[in-house]
Amino acid sequence: MTFYEREIERIRNNSFSNEKQLEVVIATKNFIDTNFDQKLNLDFLSYKHFTSKYHLLRLFKKYYGQTPRQYLIDKRIEKSKDQLKTDATVTQVCFAVGFESLGSFSSLFKNKVGKSPSDYKKEQLSRSD
């Protein structure tokens, strides 16, 4: 067994031994993965897993390093990038990935990707020619 494997074993025992907590956060993350296009909020997510919302927020952040909302936004942006490569318009993509306003989608996209959704779309189209 290498040093790395021993360390993994040690860290797993020290930091990842709470199966119940892991179950809840993994289920929450998977739920976001499959329902990112729906209206999601912490009340609903915590209700689904019978936890208090602040407890869920803390747990999610502890195991994934970001809050459920941050994770959801990243997921939506990632999905929107895929969809912007298709024929769908920016507005269609915005609502298809679960954003409720074009303004917030455009500014979030620009912040995260470095260019506006329409510029990104143009770039992808010219690339596939």
Binding site: T2, Y4, I8, L22, K29
Partner: protein, 131 residues
């Protein structure tokens, strides 16, 4: 400032280029001749060709401390860096069939599943799937 480059020290650039493209599936983006028969070789991921580039740099052959560090990580089984995959089990099977050697089989730790393989150019590399 932007993050665009991930540098990986390799003991043989040509061998690394073949391993990283043919087995791992990366795509060559840049290949420029440099002094002393070396090359500036960068690769991108097939699914994100405008994403960060991997630089295959021949450091271990020219700078002893780089070689010492690389060997120490290899002996300890520590990965130089890691790549995200959608499914660690599938990628493990795919690479195993291509003759890639794994030091750690698919293993779950907390919210991640990972495996570690030998890149044949002096490094352990890790593939990771977020659960």
């Amino acid at each position: 400032m932007k993050v665009t480059l991930i540098s990986i020290p390799v003991t043989d650039q040509e061998k690394a280029l073949q391993f990283y493209t043919e087995k791992l599936g990366f795509i060559k983006k840049k290949d420029m001749p440099l002094d002393g028969g070396h090359r500036w070789i960068t690769l991108v991921s097939k699914e994100a060709q405008d994403g960060p580039e991997i630089l295959l740099e021949p450091g271990p052959n020219h700078f002893e401390p780089c070689k010492v560090f690389q060997d120490a990580l290899m002996d300890a089984g520590i990965p130089w860096t890691q790549f995200d995959v959608d499914n660690v089990d599938e990628e493990y099977e795919r690479l195993l069939n291509l003759g890639v050697e794994f030091s750690v089989k698919p293993t779950i730790m907390g919210t991640a599943k990972f495996a570690v393989f030998n890149d044949t150019c002096g490094n352990n590399m890790q593939i990771v799937e977020m659960l």
